[in-house]
């Protein structure tokens, strides 16, 4: 790739800048570096950074937008970058004098780099929002938004004329998440309470890491677990004999496994929150003759309630955005059903299937994935902001 050669040239230019800047500064001070305002190496760095930063910024801009502007002349940007870098080199080199504040100049440049680093997060969010808005706009120019948001049919066809109603997917998403929360919230909360209020140090030393290990396991592993173990088990020993379902992929399968995945998430958040309740409240309750469980139920949990609600919301946002477990565990049939042993599908599953198929990229069947994506993004974002706000308010209360 031509770009990498230009980067190498640029690095060489900067290295030369370092050596030459140093040399000139030393000469300007008459051979005694103590006569300079800054340490000798700062003069070198200043020239090197001036050249490198100028060049790399132009190269980066070229990499982003160049192909749309100039088409085949890919070397053009590289040359422009080198010329500009050489110019910056000359300016910085010319400025060297014994009383030139090279350190301040270098530090300003480094600070600029640091600011750029922190703006990457903003750029990412912007990129997410803009790219999805853009493609969603395309989608809605081809498909009615009211059909998308309120349609109850999801039947994409290769031939066109698809019904792309989101409601069955949203229902599947919420149903799976609900089951996952029903599993993870009580278990996670009780586990956190037990580990922080009851467990002996020995039990804590074993059980706490064991539960935390669950959080470090990739979701694809849970997905496989759902596919090869939990799904068949539920079908053969529960849904099948009761005659309420014959599919190993079901809302229940995905919900149960996702619930397991969320246990450590809920429990470690709750643990933090329960530990933030001041000891003096517990003492007050014990001092009145309350048992541990009465203290927990009537003093600690009510005091920690806002924080726990925040934790549950964060877990819900996780559940809604989870992909691999539902791809492997929930199935692909878009339907509005109440039976948890039916296969259903979710927003994330359909994003994957619409974007990994072989359909034409400009067709509504593909573009709908972006509309689903932005729905998912907005949904989780609202939950996250709300949850973080509640948790922060809660923390302030006891600080």
């Amino acid at each position: 790739m031509a770009l990498s050669y230009f980067v190498i040239l640029l690095l060489a230019l900067s290295a030369a800048g370092y050596v030459m800047g140093r040399r000139k500064a030393l000469a300007a001070a008459g051979g005694d570096s103590r006569g300079l305002h800054s340490l000798l190496s700062f003069y070198g760095w200043n020239v090197a950074l001036a050249a490198f930063l100028t060049g790399i910024v132009i190269l980066a801009l070229w990499a982003l937008f160049g192909s749309t502007l100039a088409g085949s002349m890919s070397w053009l940007g590289g040359v422009a970058a080198l010329v500009a870098a050489a110019g910056a080199f000359a300016v910085a080199y010319g400025a060297i004098a014994p009383d030139y504040r090279a350190r301040n100049s270098v530090e300003a440049k480094v600070k600029g780099i640091l600011i750029f680093c922190s703006s990457v997060a903003i750029l990412t969010t912007l990129g997410i929002v803009l790219s999805m808005l853009f493609e969603t706009g395309h989608f809605f120019s081809q498909y009615s938004w009211s059909h998308f948001f309120f349609g109850t049919e999801w039947t994409p066809r290769f031939s066109g004329n698809s019904e792309l109603g989101m409601l069955p997917l949203l229902w599947g998403t919420l149903y799976v998440s609900l089951i996952a929360l029903c599993v993870s919230v009580p278990i996670g909360l009780f586990a956190a309470i037990y580990l922080s209020e009851y467990a002996t140090p020995g039990i804590r030393a074993v059980a706490k890491p064991a539960i935390e290990v669950l959080a470090g396991i990739p979701t694809i592993v849970y997905g496989l677990f759902a596919l090869i173990t939990v799904g068949p088990l539920l079908r053969d020993y529960f849904a099948g004999p009761l005659g309420i379902g014959d599919s190993s992929r079901s809302v229940m399968t995905a919900g149960l496994v996702m619930g397991i995945m969320l246990i450590p998430f809920v429990s470690s958040l709750s643990d933090d929150i329960i530990n933030a309740v001041p000891q003096s409240l517990r003492d007050g309750s014990y001092g009145l003759g309350a048992t541990r469980s009465e203290t927990i139920k009537q003093v600690v949990v009510p005091a920690a309630l806002p924080g726990i609600v925040g934790a549950v919301l964060l877990a819900a946002s996780r559940a809604i955005g989870e992909t691999m477990i539902v791809v492997l565990g929930a199935g692909a049939a878009a339907q509005l059903s109440l039976n948890p042993f039916d296969a259903m599908t979710t927003i994330t599953v359909k994003i994957v299937s619409q974007l990994t198929g072989d359909t034409d990229f400009a067709s509504p069947e593909t573009l709908v994935a972006f509309a689903l994506g932005i729905t998912l993004f907005v949904l989780t974002l609202c939950l996250n902001i709300l949850a973080l706000y509640i948790v922060r308010k809660y923390r302030e209360q006891y600080e």
């Binding site: 350190r103 997060a121 969010t125 037990y194 539960i211 397991i260 469980s293």
Partner: protein
């Protein structure tokens, strides 16, 4: 305060002995015990879930590191494998895989007759031929091209047994299931038992599973995760090279330099939200920006690495900021006090002291990136790739995506492969987390 002098009214049981538990206390203590058991139950469920998960993966996957091979003596007929007769690998490569089939067929027939005459009377040539993997000719061709000097000799070669036989010997295909399966019959299973008994067929450690490339739908016995390992390694490298400097830079700015204003507030809220954005959204971003807009090559580790970089960045920033925050201000004051600039104080003193914490956070972020699947599906890394990628621009797959690929195939033998690939993935994750824990234990400082 009129009634302040009134003596406390005697409540029923108020003067009772402490030694006797009242009914109510007994009930309350029972409730206490119940509550405690709920807690124990919850912890137990968590631990049991972990055990089940690991057992399921291990019991399904451990056997994938072993593979059944059939030992066959085969004469590498120069007339077939080297029609030109000059032992030049380039010339020999002109004989396609298809050309090796008769060679194998012939030697299997000879082998079958020999066995039928001696130790295993029930073996027929058809049975034997049906037990060998369809990947056999390709394997033989690779061997010949790698060792041209052995052409003309009779070599002992270990052919992969096909997946059904392999699964039978691992106890996953039963006679009942074989009876319903068109790709294997019970006679073959009997023959396999006999071959095992005389040592002609045996299970061996299968390096090709770890380092070999993927194989097509109907030869699960030959499928490996080598390409996925390289793809994941490339992506981890990219995450390391890009995410760590940017993450550390951003943390330094936010923690040490940024003034408290609306812009910093927005960045902070933004980072904590990005950390909670579903990973699949990053995949959509990667598809839209890196592939559709910047025209970077689809399925390449470069794009995968960039997407994972953006995804891990918040994790690394949050960990690094925590590490920087834990360095007491007195260190900064000391450096500033001897006339260092703020920048020097940070880079000479604060950053080195925060290094163990930063490293730990980085490793955890990398582990998270290594296990991530969903965003990679969207940027074309689900493709079937058999070629080892030479650079970050060649098509590749990642380890977790390879697992997903395996699960998507119809042949049940791929379940074993998927679980085996997960074991490899988990081994890497365990190592990374252990390193993180050791780092934290070794360098943790209490201020």
């Amino acid at each position: 305060m009129a009634d302040i002098s009134a003596s406390p009214e005697g409540l029923p049981g108020a003067k009772s002995s402490l030694y006797a538990q009242s009914d109510r206390t007994r009930r309350r203590n029972a409730a206490e015990t119940r509550f405690k058991y709920y807690g124990m139950g919850a912890v137990a469920i968590g631990v049991i879930a972990l055990v089940c998960l690991l057992t399921s993966i291990l019991s399904n996957g451990l056997s994938s590191f072993q593979q059944t091979f059939l030992r066959v003596e085969i004469f590498l007929d120069p007339a077939v494998v080297d029609p030109q007769g000059n032992r030049d690998p380039e010339e020999m490569a002109k004989v396609f895989t298809f050309g090796y089939q008769p060679l194998i067929k012939g030697s299997l027939e000879a082998q079958a007759q020999e066995l039928a005459a001696g130790p295993a009377p029930e073996i027929t040539p058809q049975l034997l031929a049906g037990m060998v993997s369809s990947a056999a000719p390709a394997d033989l061709r690779d061997f010949v091209l790698a060792n041209p000097d052995r052409v003309g000799e009779t070599v002992e070669f270990n052919f992969l047994a096909n997946a059904r036989i392999d699964q039978y010997l691992k106890g996953r295909v039963t006679r009942e299931s074989a009876a319903l399966d068109s790709r294997v019959d019970v006679a073959q299973l009997n023959a396999a038992d006999e071959l095992v008994a005389i040592g002609q067929m045996q299970k061996r450690f299968n390096w090709d599973f770890i380092f070999g490339p993927d194989a097509s739908e109907n030869r699960p016995e030959a499928a490996g995760i080598g390409v996925a390992l390289i793809g994941s390694a490339y992506m981890m490298l990219i995450v390391l090279v890009i995410a760590v400097p940017i993450g550390v830079g951003a943390s330094i700015y936010l923690e040490e330099f940024a003034k408290k204003n609306w812009l910093t507030d927005i960045i902070e809220v933004n980072i904590s939200n990005l950390a909670a954005v579903p990973s699949i959204v990053f995949g959509i971003l990667g598809l839209a920006v890196f592939i559709n807009f910047m025209h970077l090559p689809i399925s390449s580790p470069l794009v995968g690495g960039l997407v994972l970089t953006l995804m891990t960045l918040p994790t690394i920033i949050i960990a690094t900021r925590a590490a920087l925050k834990s360095i007491p201000p007195s260190i900064r004051d000391a450096a500033l006090g001897v006339g260092a600039s703020k920048m020097q104080a940070v880079f000479h003193h604060v950053l080195p002291l925060a290094m163990p914490g930063i490293l730990t956070g980085t490793i955890i972020g990398l582990a998270q990136a290594l296990g991530e699947t969903a965003p990679l599906l969207l940027i074309g890394m689900v493709a079937f790739v058999r070629e080892y990628p030479d650079s970050i621009l060649d098509p590749a797959v990642g380890l977790p995506v390879q697992v997903y690929n395996f699960t998507n195939r119809a042949d049940p033998a791929f379940v074993e492969r998927a679980s085996g690939a997960i074991i490899v993935l988990l081994v890497f994750l365990v190592i990374m987390n252990l390193v993180a824990i050791i780092l934290r234990r070794r360098f943790e400082r209490r201020w």
